[in-house]
Subunit: 679 residues, 2 copies
């Protein structure tokens, strides 16, 4: 290009350059690094390369862009419209429209398919798109007896000549299909090329006759409790469907350690659990494909994350070594394999990428969350916490990051809590306690009203009020502390029992009666429940303290709470109880399923895979079990923070409902409590 | 190294260099490019790196090599001998013995395992060894909670640090085995690394606890009629076992074209034949492993060759396109895949390499034969001919080579010949005809005596004399021509019938009665038989002429006859009949199963794979069907060469046996002939 040639400006990137008259706009974009997709290689049949020339005097850029400065509507474009339907007003196919003079070219958002908005619980982000699988349409020479190169060999030559793939490997299952596909496509075919690592040769993994203009990928987060999956277009980045299911391994053990025990006790335990999780994943693939009306053969790439034990069981690896010190991972690095190797039912050539694990207790899910939330790239000191049976904690900034896992136990998930339960309709998720009357109001999953609002009774009629879920436990503990029912040491104040029936002697200690229902057991918070939460939050806090100390810091600027627990708890109560260190409340954010977001990022952009692989190697791993200070931090963190309520109390705007449940307090309640003790 | 350092001379290569005192001899060898194997990486436990220091004054090389100039017997060597038994007299472990002064080091033939003698029918050759699979023993760090790198990741690090394998891929099936193997080996394991193409990342394909000091590969030639397999040590190159079996596809069709027809007529025809050939290969693997007392899991690499249709059916590819013009190969380039992809039962990580095809009628077998016989690298003009239903012909010298296939039909294999049969006990393979009496003598497969020698009758008692095999047909035709029974145009001279009962009227033409047995049909050579052989030899010769013309030459200096046909025919008769162009008879050589030799070369040295891949691309392919001159050459080649017997006649040293079979000539023989005509 020379300065004498017309200037072309691409928006919104602002990239610009001079191009000779006659240059296709697509070529100009590519030369400037403006990403415009194309499947058909400029043949004007895929329609992926649309742009919108803008006309007028752009004084700031010193360009006068006129309709004469772009080539006339071409026969190629006319044929496209005839076959595939009209383009949006003002759009051109950039492979066909050429530069005839100075131009301003808008690359529309729906065509800038290298960037895709992913909406998350707390924020919105763009994922640059650079997927590991690319569709490439080519037309190849017919067979020639004078040059008896095989059909596949000529196809490879065309892919090298038109798309630059040298030394292409070919998935074995395609060998028997090549000839029929080429003939069905009348020597025009679309190949799916997998190119992930720069050091690996690209591989042809699928082949269709004619133009194939869409391909999909799945991102899957294998949680101990729930498996979640998203189906995304690899060409637009758009999320087409999402689904989740319970992890069927639960029947072998509620938490991961009991699943490891199951493997140790049963000869085929690992095989059974591996099969269970893969079957569930196959079911989810069916679900997301049905939702989006997509053939499962069109799913060409996949990314999986999970904690180390889920990771191993998914890959068919015995997790026994993770059950005890030194918690040796069989493999910590990223795993690249084929879906067929794992009996996953997608296209026969579909690849699997498994995000690397950070350490024996800090898995691929934590790595993916780190990719998503990037505490290791933050300007300010950032804490990322994903709470499960273990809390996975990453702390850092752009100068370095540390990670550890802290044995919080299952209390935060509602286990080990007398009235705890999993998040499900009927579970208490929100609690407010009047500090004067100690009267509670609650909100229940599945009902929109607070318990003091009209319609509550009707709303919970079908489910009842059945227990307290994880976020509800945090709230009730926080409210009990704020209302003075428990003191800083976590003791339920028995002296209140005399003046208020909500607090009552329960053996040698006291309990708080949160809710009573006819026919069901009381929902109470016992001294043991408080102790369990204290232990859990002390473990979490001690882990954070350990990382802070290792990092040479005492405070954090931002806290990101990941995962279901992080999403549903109110950050205020996390601060009230001292789950996390002091921080401005507005800087404590729930970031949703950050692991799932990281998985989707890895699906849509292979650069993110390299990024997290590098990050995982760089993160300093702290094994809490080996740290002498951990126990000290733990003991110090048992107490609740000694401070006043930092938040303006919610006004009790509506009168408390008539405490009808109290009417039945008498023998019935005692009987039910007695019953529970016997249970 | 500096000139001040002691000089070390390696024999027999003569490579030499100066090395500091204390340099291990293995390191000196490696630095000079003298290939000495090592599995254990210099730990003194594999014993593969043995050398023999030689002592004395080597005046020519100006070296005085003394026992003091090599280090004393080491603790490492003592431990090796204690554990594995004594070394041969004078041998040292080169990883342990060091340079202490000027030395002459002999690398013994049994340790020069980069070179292996392969004995062939006609010559003996060395194959430089550089297999695609390498065994590497490593010791890895135990797991460390402070550095929670996975077990597999630490293993990969060790393989990179000790053996230089960067970015190692790992076969998925090893993932679940790594931890148990490392622990079983007490953190010492042997990995099998597959590294074939430079452009592909090396892959770990197998793993054993402790030191694994042997691995094997198979080379397999899939013929339409016979499948032949060799089992070789990848570490010594030695051939451990060989076996062959009939190709079970014969039940779907005797020749390749009838098998293509079967596929076209039967929906699951290709699948059935693919399964048949793979099953047969699996049976052969069982056989060679049993012969050599080798576990099939220790077979880690494999190479396959075959004609294009065998090649396609083996790979599971429908060969229909090869059944008609333009004879399009699905894939012509080399195929790299996994044994498990082809349902071949070896180690789960075993690789498959399939030699490239040259053209639609010139297959991987011809390519392998070209690798073995290297007509494309010859100083003199060399012709390589492999005769089957098609003759595959390669002609060339170091300036260039051409290849074609010529449709000889099955006559050379005994089909289309009235008394033709496959080579089997009872078949006539050698014939001599007395030019005066026209009396024949024959030799039969399974009998050592000529028919005029004592013991012949007893030797053929169990089998009888049942027909004429391919090489016998060439001989009887040649002898009939030399004896004047047929003229240069191939006409059986009816005028002889009057004076000799051996020649008799047979319908409108004449036949020659070669043999008569009681109870069986006469073995006769008919005019049609002569015509069939004329057609076949004309096709072969026309192909050669075409290549000669294309190459701008009229003669060849060397002729190599490959395959079973080439092995068993007497080159003299090939010249007599004009199967091949004129050439000094001593320059016409049977080279045995050159395709099988080429397969073994590819197995033992991946450089040979690159070599044949390059060669195949460079060879000029001639499609006879497209060449106007082919028909002319064909017509011109129908006649037998117009010349006198170039060979001294074999003396009929023993009197001809009493022609007892003639005693039964009367009605019986006529009846049998009549019977044949009706059949």
């Amino acid at each position: 290009m020379s300065d004498q040639d017309p200037l072309v400006l691409f928006m919104p990137s602002g990239k610009r350059g001079h191009f000779p008259v006659g240059t296709p706009i697509l070529d100009a974009a590519r030369e400037l690094g403006v990403y415009v997709e194309s499947v058909c290689g400029g043949r004007g049949i895929c329609g992926r390369c649309q742009v919108a020339p803008e006309f007028g005097r752009f004084a700031k850029h010193k360009i006068e862009s006129t309709p004469e400065n772009v080539s006339d509507w071409s026969a190629k474009e006319a044929r496209y419209v005839e076959k595939r339907g009209a383009l949006k007003e003002g759009r051109r196919l950039s492979c066909s429209a050429t530069v005839q003079g100075p131009l301003v070219i808008d690359v529309p958002a729906d065509a800038v398919i290298n960037q895709q908005t992913i909406r998350k619980a707390a924020d919105t982000r763009l994922i640059d798109r650079n997927p590991a699988v690319q569709l490439c349409y080519v037309e190849i020479d017919e067979p020639d007896m004078h040059k008896p190169l095989g059909d596949l060999d000529r196809l490879k030559d065309a892919l090298e000549a038109e798309w630059g793939f040298e030394d292409l490997l070919v998935s074995q299952h395609l060998m028997p299909l090549v000839q029929k596909t080429l003939r069905a496509g009348k020597w025009g075919v679309t190949a799916a090329i997998h190119k992930d690592l720069e050091s690996s040769r690209p591989t042809m993994i699928a082949l269709w006759p004619g133009l194939k203009n869409e391909a999909y990928g799945i991102a899957c987060d294998i949680g101990s409790t729930t498996i979640a999956m998203h189906l995304s277009s690899l060409l637009s980045g758009e999320t087409k469907a999402s689904a989740g299911t319970s992890n069927p391994q639960i029947r072998f053990g509620e938490d991961v350690m009991s699943r490891v025990s199951y493997v140790m006790m049963n000869a085929d335990g690992q095989q059974a659990m591996t099969k269970a999780v893969r079957d569930a994943i196959n079911d989810l693939i069916t679900q997301v494909c049905e939702q989006a009306d997509v053939e499962r053969e069109d799913v060409l790439d996949s990314v999986f994350v999970g904690n180390p034990i889920m990771h191993h069981l998914f890959l068919g690896i015995d997790p026994t070594e993770l059950g005890g010190a030194p918690f040796a991972l069989a493999v910590s690095g990223a795993v690249h394999t084929w879906a067929s190797e794992l009996n996953l039912d997608m296209n026969e050539g579909t690849r699997v990428y498994v995000v690397p694990c950070i350490a024996g207790h800090v898995g691929a899910d934590a790595a993916a969350a780190t990719l998503s939330e990037a505490p290791d790239k933050a300007d300010e000191h950032t804490l990322l916490v994903d709470v499960g049976t273990n809390a996975e904690i990453v702390l850092g900034d752009k100068h370095g990051a540390l990670a550890c896992s802290s044995p919080t136990g299952p209390a935060f998930e509602g286990a080990e809590i007398s009235c705890g339960q999993r998040a499900a309709p009927g579970a208490i998720e929100r609690v407010r306690i009047d500090p004067k009357t100690l009267e509670p109001r609650i909100r229940v999953i599945g009902a929109e009203q607070w318990s003091n609002e009209d319609g509550f009774a009707e709303a919970v009629e079908s489910t009842g009020v059945t227990g307290i879920c994880g976020s509800g436990i945090i709230e009730v503990m926080g409210e009990m502390f704020l209302a003075g029912i428990i003191d800083a040491d976590g003791v339920i104040d028995g002296s209140l029992a005399a003046g208020n029936p909500r607090v009552f002697a329960d053996g040698r200690t006291y309990s708080y009666r949160l809710w009573e229902t006819e026919g069901g057991p009381d929902i109470v918070v016992t001294q043991n429940d408080v102790r369990a939460i204290q232990m859990a939050k002390a473990a979490l806090y001690a882990g954070v303290k350990l990382l802070l100390a290792k990092h040479g810091n005492t405070s954090v600027a931002k806290i990101k709470l990941a995962g279901a627990f992080g999403t549903f708890i109110d950050p205020k109560y996390a601060l009230v109880l001292g789950l996390v260190p002091d921080c401005e409340v507005e800087n404590v954010k729930a970031v949703g399923n950050a692991a799932g977001t990281g998985a989707r990022m890895s699906l849509l952009n292979r650069d993110h895979r390299r990024d997290i692989e590098t990050t995982v190697r760089k993160i300093e791993k702290i094994e809490t079990a080996l740290e002498a200070d951990f126990q000290m931090h733990f003991v110090n963190a048992m107490a609740f923070p000694n401070k006043v309520d930092p938040f303006p109390r919610l006004e009790m705007q509506v009168p408390l409902p008539k405490p009808k449940v109290l009417e039945t307090v008498g023998g019935g309640a005692s009987r039910r409590r007695g019953g529970r003790r016997r249970g």
